[in-house]
């Protein structure tokens, strides 16, 4: 009996871990945007899920595997990100005093636009992806894992490594410089405008991948975007803004915490976990676990 409990509990925790991997991916993108542009992109989750919907659409219309569909969808997503940033976000955040609030409100508006477009195009019904290989399962150390979960894990690791490598390149160094001090970086000759939109596009691409992974392993609907944004925000704050390892670890921890809470209290309480964690962190340790960048004052 105890071994049974251990088996079951570990299965639950591993699943929670893999849920959390998706949160980490979203948080990575959010963190990148915040670090460079100093804004909170509330539309982040929605843009990711839009990517997920687009991959789903490609699969339903043409039969192309959603993972391969990323090749088509990601550039489109980057284009959308560029337009959003250039024409909507930048004009709104001109006054640095109200940058945060203006960016929040505008990205909130954009998030609603995106989720409403999704409702119009794909209806608000629940949807799920059923692929030919959807029912494959692997048994590892006595745990049963569906293949989609394994795919999630692989992608998360890949993206994290990609980001870590990216930060060592010249571009990455410019990114880090802008994160620390924008004005000095510009004085040093970095073209901030260009860097900002490239960073935004990369972040959105990452969230597009995360969205595709989410649609691969869950039943989804348009309103899920905002929920994911809040969760990734929690992860970002919890792990420390601007910290990649923080986002990675934070996401996984959040996923496990949610699994534990859902098991002990009930599924209804699952989404509360992220709010509670967010508020607790902000009250008691605003810099997060691995915090390197402090919160922008007001």
């Amino acid at each position: 009996m105890p071994i049974d409990l251990f088996n079951v509990a570990s299965n639950l925790i591993v699943l929670g871990l893999l849920e959390g991997a998706i949160y980490s991916l979203f948080a990575l993108g959010l963190s990148l945007i915040f670090g460079v542009m100093k804004i909170f992109n509330i539309a982040h989750g929605d843009m990711g899920i839009l990517g997920g919907y687009l991959c789903y659409w490609v699969f339903v219309m043409y039969g192309i595997d959603p993972i391969l569909a990323l090749v088509l969808v990601l550039p489109l997503l980057c284009l959308i990100a560029f337009c959003v940033q250039r024409f909507m976000i930048n004009p709104a955040i001109r006054d640095p005093r109200f940058q945060i609030i203006a960016s929040v409100m505008i990205t909130y508006g954009i998030a609603l636009c995106i989720s409403n477009q999704e409702i119009i195009i794909w209806t608000p019904d629940w949807r799920s992806l059923t692929l030919p290989y959807s029912y494959l399962s692997y048994s590892i150390f006595g745990l049963t894992l569906n293949i989609t979960r394994v795919i999630v894990l692989l992608f998360t690791v890949a993206v994290t490594i990609f980001l870590l490598v990216l930060l060592r390149t010249k571009f990455g160094k410019a990114l880090r410089a802008c994160t620390q001090d924008r004005e000095v970086s510009m004085l040093m000759g970095i073209n901030f405008g260009k860097l900002a939109w490239v960073a935004f596009a990369i972040a959105t691409a990452i969230s597009g991948i995360a969205g595709m992974l989410y649609t691969l392993s869950h039943t989804f609907y348009p309103a899920v975007g905002l929920v994911l944004t809040i969760k990734s925000l929690t992860v970002m704050v919890f792990g420390g803004m601007g910290s990649i390892s923080g986002a990675f670890v934070g996401g996984i921890l959040l996923g496990v915490a949610e699994a534990v809470v859902a098991f002990s209290l009930g599924g209804e309480y699952r989404d509360l976990v992220s709010f509670l964690v967010l508020v607790m962190v902000l009250l008691f340790k605003p810099t997060g676990i691995f915090g390197k960048v402090f919160l922008v004052p007001k």
Binding site: G109, F275, V279
Partner: protein, 324 residues
């Protein structure tokens, strides 16, 4: 703490209210619409006290609406009290109590984090009323509150009209008083305000409580009027968002802003829903975006060229943000 000045603003409001008195007799078919509109106006004014005067944006004001609503519903359902003005008052007081008690830790968060915190509060309260306390609140089945028999709409209409006028008075009194000045000082520069001797924390808790009270009272009225309280309905994010867009569209921080914004957004919503159905939320979201790009002061702010938040003319100047 504050003196009651009868300014021209108050007179203007009184005139408007007087014009609205004959509505149920003159345009009886539209009374239901006007009642809804008045509810939104009152709630927008209440939100504006916290978000506009004090600068603490709340993304989850539905929390207080729901608390007020459920207080009334439960008092009536359990037969504790059937006297409606008292129940509504108690609804408002409980909302105020909740705001005051979580105010201290919450107000350590500023700006955006406070906003997310209130969003979380609304969600948490929704789950509390729906699941945690489901044995007392009937959970997802909701609570029915009987309306007056024989039914006439007039008492409800005049009740909300009186409530709206009262709330306008309160908001107007705050704006013109020393309290209002203190609020504005805290909003614009908290540190300087503190150095001038204003107890920022106490003032913010007070503003939070007043705002919560107003919205709680309207929540209580809502239950009496519609006759039903349900956790998904009264704690809904849509209510919070609508308040947000109403105030911002009208002009946050101004006196007339919430009123004008509520009227315009309400009309757009009703017409939009009738004409383009699915697209009306999209329309509202686009309006929100336009507000922030073109007229950050909202309608009232841009028209009077005086907005406490963003001077649209000044913002045009290029700052060191760079171009993209």
């Amino acid at each position: 703490m504050f003196r009651f000045k009868v300014s021209k603003t108050i007179i203007g409001h009184l005139v408007a209210i007087l014009c609205l008195i004959p509505v149920p007799y003159v345009i009886p078919g539209y009374t239901a619409y006007v009642i809804q509109l008045l509810m939104y106006i009152s709630m927008s004014i209440g939100w504006n006290i916290l978000g506009g005067y004090l600068g603490d944006l709340s993304f989850g004001h539905a929390a207080f609406f729901g608390v007020g609503a459920y207080t009334v519903a439960m008092l009536d359902y359990y037969g504790i009290c059937h006297f409606s003005p008292l129940n509504i008052l108690l609804g408002g007081l409980l909302s105020m109590f909740i705001a005051a008690s979580i105010g201290y830790p919450f107000l350590k968060l500023r700006g955006f984090y406070f906003a997310i915190g209130t969003l979380g509060l609304a969600e948490i309260l929704r789950v509390v009323y729906k699941d945690l306390l489901r044995d007392y609140t009937r959970g997802a089945r909701g609570i029915l509150v009987p309306t007056i028999t024989p039914y006439t709409i007039q008492p409800y209409y005049y009740a909300i009209l009186a409530l709206t006028f009262g709330i306008m008075l309160v908001a107007g009194a705050i704006v013109n008083s020393k309290l209002g000045l203190a609020f504005r000082a805290i909003r614009d520069d908290m540190d300087s305000a503190r150095m001038s001797g204003i107890n920022a924390t106490a003032h913010r808790i007070l503003g939070f409580s007043i705002s919560a009270f107003i919205v709680g009272v309207i929540g209580g009225f809502f239950v009496y009027y519609t006759g039903y309280a349900h956790p998904e309905g009264v704690f809904s994010q849509v209510i919070s968002f609508e308040l947000l867009i109403m105030v911002y569209f009208g002009g946050v921080g101004t006196v007339l802003g919430p009123i004008v914004g509520a009227i315009i957004v309400f009309i757009v919503e009703e017409v939009g829903r009738a004409l383009i159905q699915q697209g009306y939320l999209l329309l509202l979201a686009i309006m929100l975006i336009i507000v922030f790009i073109l007229m950050p002061g909202g309608v009232v702010g841009t028209v009077t060229k005086k907005t406490p938040f963003i001077n649209p003319l000044r913002a045009r100047r290029r700052k060191l943000i760079g171009s993209a």
